[in-house]
């Protein structure tokens, strides 16, 4: 019983403001995570080859000077939408036979304030969190500083969370 309560509390904390909640209850050995590493590698290659992690492409996007980024994000959303519809419609299971779960996102004011602040940072650095990792991979070593600063930003959000309007 005690154990169960602990698990629930953990789930509550992890689900705070997160899109990613691990729904799987199956315990796996660490090497099962290699498959996510492989998806990450493929994803990183696409990031670089399509130039979506280019600071210059982000500047073009926010000046409405190119369709490229809108095409990338737009077509990604369409493919994602159709995929999720297919998964729900045909009740597709994971490779381990688990039901795939979706959770509705609740609105809070953080999506507005935080969204605007992230927008400022995105236009300055030309990167969202994913591209930061890929840019470092391409050898732009100074981006390590940007990444550490982003980690610090996340940490201070956690520290000030109770005082911020949500």
């Amino acid at each position: 019983m005690q154990n169960k309560i602990n698990q629930n509390t953990d789930f509550e904390v992890r689900s705070l403001d997160a899109m990613c909640i691990n729904e799987s209850n199956i315990q796996h050995k660490w090497y099962h995570n290699i498959k996510y590493l492989i998806i990450g590698v493929l994803f990183g290659i696409v990031f670089v080859k399509s130039e979506v992690i280019s600071w210059f492409r982000i500047q073009e996007m926010f000046r409405l000077q190119s369709f490229h980024m809108y095409g990338v994000i737009g077509s990604a959303v369409v493919v994602g939408m159709v995929s999720i519809w297919i998964i729900k419609r045909f009740n597709i299971k994971t490779i381990y036979g688990e039901k795939i779960e979706f959770h509705d996102k609740k609105f809070n004011k953080g999506q507005i304030y935080g969204g605007l602040l992230f927008g400022f940072g995105w236009a300055i650095t030309g990167a969202c969190p994913g591209p930061l990792f890929a840019q470092i991979g391409t050898g732009a070593s100074v981006v390590i500083v940007t990444l550490l600063s982003a980690i610090a930003g996340t940490w201070f959000y956690g520290l000030w969370r109770e005082k911020l309007p949500h």
Binding site: I39, G40, Q59, F62, Q111, G115, T125, A152
Partner: protein, 187 residues
């Protein structure tokens, strides 16, 4: 084939591939595609400092750290094995505008003229890298997701709070790039 892969990939190839990450992660293990959470897991694992927001079992989320490490490796593989020596082709208007700020090197994915270890210790470099990075980390967590979690996963699952967040990302970006960044680049 390799020659073909070395060219910059058009949006109609890259976008659908990025979109396919959503079902791939769901089918491989019920994981929601989102990247900014990795920053939170790094905080929780390295510097939790007894902050309630970081007190959870981050080991259950370790897949996310494998995923972002993969993105790092993917960047390294793409630039070493599939790189294209031609500089990024952007709108001539942007080239002209950036030249006015002394940004003329388009060979890298980041503007090396203003983002390097030397400019880090100038006011402009500090704002571009340290302040900018802080806003990315703080803003994404405050908003509960970034371009992947909200704009791609959230919109794919028809979540209206994600539409609000994505709209705010874009509004913030438009304000910064057009109204504020010119002053920062002029420093």
């Amino acid at each position: 084939m390799i020659e073909f892969l070395k060219q910059p990939w058009p949006w109609y190839i890259a976008g659908p591939l990025i979109g396919l990450t959503v079902p791939a992660l769901l089918i491989l293990g019920n994981k929601s595609f989102g990247i900014s959470s990795s920053l939170r897991h790094i905080c929780a694992s390295c510097i939790p400092a007894n902050i309630p927001f970081f007190k959870y079992n981050w080991k259950k989320e370790v897949w996310n750290l494998f995923f972002v490490f993969g993105i790092f490796l993917g960047g390294a593989i793409a630039v070493n094995l599939l790189s294209n020596p031609v500089a990024v082709q952007v709108n001539p208007k942007l080239t002209a505008e950036l030249a006015g700020y002394g940004i003329t090197n388009f060979t890298n994915l980041v503007p090396l003229d203003i983002m390097n270890w030397h400019t880090l210790f100038t006011l402009k470099g500090f704002i571009m890298m340290v302040v900018g990075g802080f806003l990315v980390g703080f803003g994404t967590r405050y908003a509960g997701g970034c371009t992947s979690g909200h704009a791609i996963t959230g919109l794919s699952n028809l979540q209206w709070p994600s539409l609000i967040a994505t709209t705010c990302f874009m509004v913030g970006g438009f304000i910064m790039a057009n109204l504020i960044l010119p002053y920062i680049l002029s420093l």
